[in-house]
């Protein structure tokens, strides 16, 4: 059975890079193997969430859902939750 991969879009814009997101594009190297195969990671310069002043950078989208103040640990946590739901 082929499962659809989880789509991750990492903002690689200068604002997210400066305000704490510099390491996010290396996400794949920080993921354990069981998550690595289930995700498709893309980088995109400025995904426009910084225009919303109530939201805090850096930004990442996981299957369309916006994660603010994204960090490797936060993304991983989110992925673990998503994949746990799938296997049920």
């Amino acid at each position: 059975m082929e499962t659809k991969k989880i789509q991750i879009v990492i903002c690689t814009g200068t604002l997210c890079h400066v305000l704490g997101g510099a390491e996010l594009p290396s996400l794949e190297q920080h993921l354990p193997d069981h998550l690595k195969n289930q995700v498709e990671i893309k980088g995109s310069p400025c995904i426009n969430h910084c225009k919303n002043t109530d939201m805090r950078p850096p930004f990442v989208e996981i299957n369309g859902e916006v994660i603010e103040q994204a960090s490797i640990t936060r993304i991983r946590e989110h992925l673990e939750k998503l994949t746990a739901n799938d296997s049920k």
Binding site: T12, T14, L15, V18, A22, E23, S26, P45, S71
Partner: protein, 465 residues
């Protein structure tokens, strides 16, 4: 040390962005609003209340403009006034904001209530100074006898004893930061080498560097040609090509951009000539590198006896600036790098007018709406200064000198200054078996510089790709 991964460093950059944004738009009146925008009424405070937070934010912005709390003659003077009269590094390089300092208690070992008052009592038995006693079934450390050796902490099977640090004092390699009688930390600028570790380690973000960008902006608006000279470490700062980074720098308002790596090649050949001359002697103490300004400060303030061993060769920054000034005599030359100590070196050199950091550069890009990856690649000089670019990493200077000298040299590398590494280096100096000492104050060299946007590991990863 990894930048970015804490709020204090993010707030510092956020403030820089907001300040520069107003300066670029010529609307300094809005600077007054920044603390209120960040901490509106009702937002969860970091300190006791949002009003205290706002006061601290105000002093942080003042520091960036070159004003300390002591410069505040009238508390009603609005931030916008300071923004209109920036002093930059003319007043100080680093400011410790009393209002932000949390008066951390003295570094000490503390018994927590995890203590079960066991029968074994290894904390008490192993204490060399009889400082541990038991009251109401729990261990108590007598501060008068305690020498902070940490044995009790390591012996406790319940992990009940904790070390309570003063983060800024703990990381200072030269004991330049101390608590004054009022209970606030203070930096002894005679001793300080501007390594930037206190700034990175303070959990309250109480240490803030001043910025010359507001002064530079005035020059950019005038007819004076403004030239950027960029440290080789820039290659690991943005996830894109050097050509695009240089184009982005030009877009900020610089007329020309040069690589400091070009000056680094000159440094390498002058320093290797110096070394070969020294090696011709039978016994010599070894030549010490001179390109890291924090290291040069360290020798000046803390190790005078090594002063004669430090190379006379000028730093890559100064040599690059010299060649720029030969070409464009009326240019304002601006160094851009990962380093706080370069601000001081720039100030004291005739060739360099300002030094700004990668943090400041990143903030300028954001404030000016410059998307680095979307730039049209700039054309670079035809000759790539490969050897010079290596200067940004620990070991790179020694490698460059060996290459230029064309022979094997016995190099001793200090990858990060701390008390231990200096003690070990002192032994090597005594042994007189080393030809060349390469000393970089920051771990991983300039790639791990205190004012970087990326961690050293990430920078290496970016350069590799």
């Amino acid at each position: 040390m990894t930048p970015n991964k804490n709020n204090a460093s993010i707030i510092r950059k956020d403030l820089l962005i907001r300040l520069y944004r107003e300066l670029l738009s010529n609307d300094t009146a809005n600077v007054d609003r920044i603390p209120i925008i960040i901490k509106p009424r009702g937002r969860e405070p970091w300190r006791c209340c949002v009003y205290k937070d706002r006061a601290v934010l105000k002093y942080k912005i003042m520091s960036m403009l070159g004003y300390s709390e002591a410069d505040e003659k009238d508390e009603l003077t609005p931030l916008s006034w300071y923004a209109e009269h920036p002093k930059g590094t003319n007043s100080f390089y680093l400011n410790l904001i009393e209002e932000a300092c949390s008066n951390c208690p003295p570094p000490s070992y503390v018994v927590t209530n995890l203590c079960r008052g066991c029968e074994a009592r290894p904390c008490q038995v192993n204490c060399p100074k009889d400082a541990v006693s038991f009251q109401n079934g729990q261990a108590v450390i007598n501060a008068e006898n305690c020498i902070n050796c940490g044995k009790c902490m390591r012996e406790c099977p319940y992990n009940a004893i904790h070390y309570q640090p003063r983060p800024c004092e703990d990381v200072c390699p030269v004991d330049a930061i101390y608590q004054n009688p009022k209970g606030y930390e203070e930096i002894d600028m005679e001793k300080c080498i501007l390594c930037g570790r206190c700034l990175q380690s303070c959990p309250f973000g109480a240490v803030i560097p001043s910025s010359d960008f507001p002064l530079l902006l005035e020059d950019m608006k005038s007819e004076t040609p403004v030239v950027a000279i960029v440290a080789p470490a820039v290659a690991g700062q943005f996830r894109t090509s050097l050509e695009k980074i240089y184009a982005a720098i030009r877009n900020v308002g610089f007329d020309e951009v040069y690589e400091v790596a070009e000056g680094a090649e000159k440094t390498a050949s002058l320093e290797s000539a110096e070394l070969l001359h020294l090696k011709a002697q039978n016994e010599h103490p070894g030549l010490m590198s001179s390109c890291c300004p924090a290291w040069v400060n360290f020798v000046k303030g803390n190790k005078q006896e090594w002063k004669a061993h430090v190379s006379d060769t000028s730093s890559p920054m100064v040599l690059t600036a010299q060649s720029v000034k030969e070409k464009i005599p009326n240019a304002k030359v601006v160094f851009i790098g990962p380093c706080l100590a370069k601000k001081e070196e720039a100030h004291s050199s005739a060739e360099v007018d300002y030094a700004i950091t990668f943090e400041e550069l990143g903030a300028v890009f954001v404030a000016a709406g410059i998307e680095v990856a979307n730039q049209e690649a700039d054309s670079m000089s035809e000759k790539t200064p490969e050897i010079g670019r290596g200067f940004s990493a620990s070991g790179g200077v020694a490698r460059a000198i060996e290459k230029v000298a064309g022979q094997k040299i016995n190099a001793y590398i200090v990858n990060g200054i701390d008390k231990m590494s200096i003690r070990q280096m002192a032994k090597a100096v005594k042994d007189k078996k080393t030809d060349f000492f390469e000393v970089m104050c920051c771990e991983e060299g300039c790639l791990g510089g205190s004012q970087s946007l990326t961690s050293a590991n990430e920078a290496k990863r970016i350069i590799k790709n």
